[in-house]
Symmetry: none
Subunit: 221 residues, 4 copies
């Protein structure tokens, strides 16, 4: 049932090699957020405490690295989604908590594409897709339940919610920036308010499902 489309099975690596791999992903995630997905490979290697050679041995090119970070992100998100759905009985509260956590994990690179070269580099991965689907499924279920409760406006679907949150996540400030953080949290709250039922106001078009988002991504390559 495990999905496996990266060249190597991380579990099969020697202890030190696996540690290297993790450090690289950790460093890459941090730098993708702080500098952007175009950050020099050498800088990532340095931050991870390895040579570029090692980085390239693990991830043959930038695309594979981005994808690995993505996979790592979505693995956590899916796990988080599962747990939140299981533990929080109120769907609106669960949704709010889940989306807030998404932000806190600062997984921004992940969902909303980045610079053109980075988009080129980001290959589709079955493993990522699997976790993403799971996340989306949870969001969809919570959304529907919350809509049945009247806590979330009825004219939206999971795609709307995901886009809204993904958008806000782009503003994630560097750690320690209090003003940036306040603005960020206010914006999230404001968007969440937008997701709540607002009598008398309708959105244009039709509810956007996650399939729509994927189609959109295709189109931009």
């Amino acid at each position: 049932m495990g999905v496996r489309d990266t060249r190597e099975t991380p579990e099969a690596l020697r202890a030190d090699a696996r540690r290297n791999r993790e450090q690289i992903i950790e460093a890459a995630r941090a730098l993708f957020i702080r500098i952007g997905p175009d950050v020099p490979m050498e800088e990532i290697a340095r931050a991870a405490g390895v040579g570029v050679g090692t980085l390239y041995r693990r991830f043959p090119d930038r695309g594979e690295l981005i994808q690995a970070v993505n996979l790592d992100n979505f693995t956590r998100l899916a796990e988080l989604a599962r747990r939140t759905e299981a533990e929080e009985p109120d769907p609106a509260a669960a949704l709010d908590s889940l989306l807030r956590s998404v932000l806190e994990l600062r997984l921004s690179v992940t969902m909303t594409a980045a610079s053109a070269p980075a988009r080129q580099a980001m290959k589709e991965s079955a493993a990522v897709a699997e976790h993403r689907d799971e996340l989306i499924a949870v969001v969809g279920r919570l959304l529907r339940r919350a809509q049945e409760d009247g806590a979330i406006r009825p004219d939206i679907d999971a795609g709307d919610a995901v886009m809204a949150v993904a958008l806000v996540s782009r503003l994630a400030p560097p750690a320690g920036d209090d003003l940036g953080d306040m603005i960020y949290r206010r914006l999230f709250a404001l968007v969440m308010d937008g997701l709540r039922a607002v009598p008398g106001s309708g959105l244009p078009g039709r509810p956007v499902g996650y399939g729509d988002i994927e189609e959109l991504r295709q189109r931009n390559q």
Copy 2:
């Protein structure tokens, strides 16, 4: 009353030179949106139908070009704001219309920062600041009047509104993308709903003025 801090007064250029200048700005604006502020200068020149040399004669480096595009954007925005405020008596409707127009002009590069090198390149310009101030002043006035009418939630200030719109503007789809456009318009509407008065829900922190946004920008250099 006119402000001018670019080296040359565009009006004083020869006819063909002015046409080139405008084509360059047009091409740059489009490419900054589509590709990002790091698009190769050569690509901008090609899109504008001129040689690189011409591009550089007009804009000594990328920073000057970005700034010129910014100035052009904000000049239009300020003009638009003035007109909207003068013509639409209902403040909430004016605000909605103004912000919607901002999106339609696809002026995204403008307000929300870009990649690190691009940020470095984006010099502050007195002319840009003047137009920006005027735009913000109008947004602030409309906001206050709409809040007095109870049409907009009382716990926000101009900075909140501007950030919200700037954020959405990043999603501006290429012309002709119907799905993208629908998602984009829905998101905008959703955010506008968030700006409306929502009884019983308060935002964290305090209202964010435009000064806060500027401080934020400073900090990111």
Copy 3:
């Protein structure tokens, strides 16, 4: 008897065109000394108060301009040499005065070649050659007479003297630099002392005539 190998006869130009021509040569001479022979053509044009177009109309490329400056320099030098020889009866004093004047005119670009591209650009001109020959002839005559007087060492020829002075001329300091000027004058005096008769010390090789210098220049292209 006039030599004419530049495209246009300066005398035949309209008054304003001639003034332009002279201003360009003046500006070029100053900038060649201050910045070097690679100074941008546009900068020369600006200093001369004309557009590049005008500069290029007069001097089709950098080589022609360098050559024109050269011609101007050598014309003055030849005239100066004639006058000095006629007016100063003591050959050693005349030589000293002539060489000192050469320095004071700061005609350095002229004789000792410059950067590789500049050397490429400096075409041989019959007019320059004529004036140069005249200058050299005077130096040679003064030298011989001074040697007969025992005032100048016997083992040198005009080429030696010219090279020595040309060398020193490279140090010409910008106007107003007192320290630089002192060093410059000391060096000149020191070289002149080297040219004077020094009993008991002989130079290696054989006396170097001007023909040798020209052959050397050929070889370096």
Copy 4:
């Protein structure tokens, strides 16, 4: 006691990398002399048999390369000065031999300034300064002793001598050019004769110390 202000300790490099580094410095020295300090970096790389990337890895910009060549030059010069002073008891002979060797090493770029951009690029380095100081100290000592012997004129100081030699060194001909070489050696001998005591002739100004030369260099940036 060794001084080292370049980022890397050359000794610590891998064998092949060190060889490359040396080839680059060798090629750069030769080309700086032959073409000038503005030779294309690519040409230097080609002459050294490496790619540009390698050149830039070792020397992050032209300035660092110039400085490295300088350091190499002065290291040799200082060593040579030490040896000459230790081995030759007659100060005048030692001075003549030392200065002659300086020329033979063709270290011209070093002391006499270059084109404006190159001057900008030439950063001051503590290591270079140290070796230069040592060289100057030796020259100064030899000079004083020779002056006491009456073999060198009394009205000069180390700065005069260094400038004189630096000047001549600019004429260094390419290897194998016999005529150029003869002229070069004659000029050197002539300058040396100028340095010798010449009764009845005084230099203008005051003796120039090395501090004066440094001040001069400052002024030219």
